[in-house]
């Protein structure tokens, strides 16, 4: 897929909670097609301490308005600087980057997002819904504050929630959700994105139930376009770049 570099205009910077915000960006030309799981490399030009671009999954796309959005968690100087952008500011993006999720073998699929890892699941649930699949979306977080905009997924599938402290949904980790003791066998695919330990747990559970599982990795990146080889992940076929050959990988191929 052809990659682009464009100056987007910030149309809205939506502060969802203290920690999470969604930034809506207007493309100066027609948006190219963007696949679920793809990401953008964002130039942070309003932070004195951020040098490299920062990768973020593409959260939502509105082809009619020529807009895309990013869902971001404040974790360091770069993301905090992005949270300060205002309507009318400019943001330079390299996009769309990386591969995408593959379609499930059967009707039902489980989409799991941990914290801000939920971001790529919005486009995926939309696509699956459009194509006639039945996605269930399981959102996990440490507390209810980490369950971000769960209502966005409602139109496309059923939404389930877990939190470590039980402040929203079921208490426990995503893999302890009752879905896994119940209808898990109905899923013909599991898709997940989130913190490392969660990804490992999901991969293990998927393997136990023999369900194909794809996860989206968040390896640190320098270029995002396959030029530096910094973002590699070990697979059974050797080192693969997360930015070009990923970020979505079949868990059976990974050395987790």
């Amino acid at each position: 897929m052809k990659k682009f570099i464009h100056d987007f205009e910030v149309t809205h910077n939506h502060h969802i909670t203290d920690d999470y915000f969604a930034i809506y960006l207007k493309c100066p030309v027609s948006l190219p097609q963007i696949l679920p799981g793809q990401f953008a490399e964002v130039l942070v030009s309003n932070s004195t301490t951020t040098y490299l671009r920062r990768p973020f999954s593409i959260y939502d796309v509105d082809y009619k308005r020529n807009e895309l959005s990013l869902l971001i968690k404040k974790v360091g100087d770069g993301t905090v600087a992005l949270s300060k952008l205002k309507e009318g500011d400019t943001l330079n993006l390299i996009y769309p980057l990386g591969n995408s999720f593959s379609l499930p073998g059967g009707k039902k699929a489980l989409l799991i997002g941990g914290g801000v890892g939920i971001a790529p699941m919005l486009l995926l649930s939309k696509l699956l819904h459009e194509k006639g699949y039945k996605p269930d979306i399981l959102v996990g977080g440490r507390t209810s504050n980490d369950i971000v905009e769960p209502e966005k997924y409602k139109p496309f599938g059923e939404v389930f929630i877990t939190t470590d402290d039980g402040s929203a949904g079921e208490k426990g980790m995503v893999t302890q959700h009752s879905l896994f003791s119940g209808k898990v066998k109905e899923y013909s695919a599991i898709y997940a994105c989130g913190p490392d330990p969660m990804m490992k747990a999901v991969a293990r559970v998927a393997a136990e139930h023999n369900i194909p599982c794809e996860i989206s990795l968040e390896n640190t990146m320098a270029c995002g376009i396959g030029a530096c080889l910094c973002c590699v992940v070990e697979t059974i076929d050797g080192n693969k770049t997360t930015c070009i050959e990923g970020p979505v990988f079949d868990t059976r191929k990974l050395k987790l």
């Binding site: 052809k2 990659k3 682009f4 570099i5 130039l43 301490t49 951020t50 040098y51 490299l52 671009r53 390299i94 390896n219 640190t220 990146m221 320098a222 270029c223 995002g224 376009i225 396959g226 030029a227 530096c228 080889l229 910094c230 973002c231 590699v232 992940v233 070990e234 050797g238 080192n239």
Partner: protein, 303 residues
Amino acid sequence: MLDLSVNVHKLLLKNPVMSASGTFGYGIEFDDFIDVNRLGGILTKACTSKNRDGNRYPRMAETPAGMLNSVGLQNKGVDYFINTIYPKIKHYDTHIIVNVSDSTVEGYMEVAEKLNQLDKITGIELNISCPNVKEGGMAFGTSCPMAGAVTKAVREVYDKTMIVKLSPNVTNIAEIAKAVEDEGADSVSVINTLLGMAIDAEKRRPILSTITGGLSGPAVKPIALRMVWQVSKAIKIPVIGLGGISNATDAIEFLLAGATAIQVGTANFVDPQVCIKILDGIEEYCNRHGVQDVKELIGALES
């Protein structure tokens, strides 16, 4: 008409702007963003005698105005390069120079000898300065006898333009430059990365799997510029300058300090179009300053 061409030994570059090894893939990665043919040359990522997996992830850490990397020469080896990559890049209408690395003198020789056969590879850059491999690598570049020895050995099997890439992790870089000049290098490129380290204070662990890695980006520019200046005063063969170059002003500073051509590395990650912007900026500078031939700028620092 402004003449932007420069000569690096036998290579006539259409302009002094090249991409640095390991930061530009094989050029192909940048086709979506720029017309790679406009560059003076491309330095490919390192090529070794055998397949190398490189170091374990994590391989990079951001640092103030720069980054550390410890990629560790990941590549599929010279035979794969010749059979699979070369056919995909030989159409480029620019100099393609292969960055040659290995752990032994014999390894360097093997790669150079094989590349000597490829028409469209008009030169090699001997990487005797990689800080990210256990054996060889930087060790070759930090002592005059070893730098001289590998240069001499490869010179015997390689006819075309041979550039030697120097390590900045030394007390006296001019001495090393003289040693490789004496043993037949046609040009030197200055500098490779500086050995650095990053720590995750919260986890109390090094960030890189290799603990230390190579520092690059704007942070190193003042050091690179100083070394280019020192080296270009010490030797007669052309110097290729690099280290932190991010815009046309930076590039011109390197030319003034004595570089015949320049390479752009880490800046490609921040802006994949930066090489072309630098090229256009050099042209604009020449026009504004009434410079008709970019060669007038080389070593033209007044002091």
